[in-house]
Amino acid sequence: LSTTPEDQDYYELRLYRCTPGRMPDLHHRMGYELPPLFARHGVVRPLAYWEGYAGAGAPLYVYMLRWRDLDERFRAFGAFYNDPEWAAQRDASNAGEHMVERVDLALMRPAAIWSEFKQSHEPVEVGGIHELRLQQLDTRNVPASYRALAEVDMPHLKAHGAQILGIFSMWFGSRTPQAVYLLAWRDFQAREAAAAAHEQDRDVHEARRAEARRYGGSLFGACDSHVLQPARYGVPRSNLSEQPH
């Protein structure tokens, strides 16, 4: 596989457990108050923002950023967090209560198999229902696990209506080795129909049995799934391309 500069980027996934009742305030902060402050300190413009009321950590607020350089990332966020204007803005909008109870941060890199599933057309906004899956992999057989995703699962998902927004490897974060991928569905019914088809598919079953025989166990551990809704002010674009200015 050819290596383009984009393949070397880092994708930062930020999962915020929102204080119950504060989601509208958090949207206002992230969508309208923070962008000028982020820009001032060189924090890149997030690729997309989501909210989740359907899984672990709900109410969950999610956004993703892409970095060329991790030193730059730490410098930019450090400067942002030290800005007295951020502190003042945070205290004012928190209004005596934290909006965010807990944060899970992860730094990911694009999985090599992602390039096989990129859209070739010009980037467009991708609406619908999105799904974030965090799939633990067999520590002994990581490349084989990605091959299985590329040859068995991703084609099945695509054939059943998923648009693949991104496929990543956990780089810094929890429960590595872990594949993280982001799917878009027309609606929840489409997602459910695809899940049912995947569970019943004979070829998928046969592939799983063959993997178990060949590798002495399953290539896949437990998976976390979040069904998310993109925020109006930051709907992701195909291939998680940058937002236009």
């Binding site: 204080t19 119950p20 509208p24 009321y53 899984g55 709900a58 459910e192 025989r213 399953s218 976390d224």
Partner: protein
């Protein structure tokens, strides 16, 4: 009637859920069918034979952690009944045959949890519109982890405000339970049925802006300096069609 004797009495609910080997949840549902539902030569199922009740409901998880996940809920008259029914089943050669066959390519179930639950006082089983429909659609398990010592406060909030509002917004209450044995306690577990995902998502947004919910949260913060719900977990569930539950897990029938 499930209530009346939740703590002092002996009636008990067991919520069992299994982390299933990837890609094999349909096999697990089928294996459960083979032991709990499919009739043996004698007539009843293997569960029937050993006096294990049919599940009140069974689910596979759509969202949440540690997927794929299969779960089911049992109602026992007593733990004595439970502990005289399950062990002979576990030793049964027919079950061993089924298990060995289905585990031939590796274990179907990676890990199991079983929690003991009792009907919560927040479960208002009088709330009954008279309908007797089997409830498919989308189910939801909500877990409120409460601040230690404050479960009665959260129970009252759930009963008077949250569950009431969720029903107004389209939910049907299947059951509400206190966790008696399980992790991260104290905790209160609610099982709800929703007509569809869109209704559920709309309700989640609306609940947070309901004036009575806001007032309750503000009161907690004023009187206790914090919210009394320490942590909240939510899982969307797909009910297994052969065991669709009714409102209040069928208590009102």
């Amino acid at each position: 009637m499930f209530v009346g004797t939740p703590r002092g009495g002996s009636t008990m609910f067991e919520y069992r859920f299994y982390e299933v080997s990837t890609g094999r949840v349909a096999e697990e549902v089928a294996r459960m069918g083979a032991v709990a539902f499919d009739p043996l030569r004698g007539g009843g199922s293997l569960f029937d034979h050993y006096g294990i009740p049919r599940p009140l409901a069974e689910w596979t998880a759509i969202t949440g952690s540690r997927l794929p996940l299969y779960g089911y809920l049992l109602h026992w008259d007593s733990l004595k009944q439970r502990d005289s029914a399950f062990p002979p089943f576990w030793a049964d050669p027919t079950w061993h045959g089924i298990r060995d066959r289905t585990d031939a390519d590796g274990p179907l179930v990676e890990r199991m949890e079983n929690w003991l639950l009792a009907a919560s006082p927040a479960w208002n089983q009088q709330n009954d519109d008279g309908s007797d429909a089997a409830l498919g659609g989308l189910h939801e398990m909500r877990i409120h982890h409460t601040l230690a010592g404050y479960s009665p406060h959260v129970t009252e909030y759930l009963r008077a405000i949250e569950l009431h509002q969720l029903q107004v917004l389209g939910a049907v209450v299947l059951g509400v339970f206190d966790v008696l044995i399980g992790p991260n306690m104290p905790a209160i577990v609610s099982f709800l049925a929703w007509p569809d995902f869109e209704t559920h998502q709309f309700a989640m947004r609306r609940l947070d802006s309901e004036p009575r919910v806001k007032v309750q949260r503000d009161t907690w913060k004023r009187e206790h300096g914090q919210l009394l719900v320490r942590e909240f977990e939510q899982t969307l569930l797909r009910p297994v069609p052969r065991s669709l539950p009714h409102r209040n897990f069928g208590r009102s029938r």
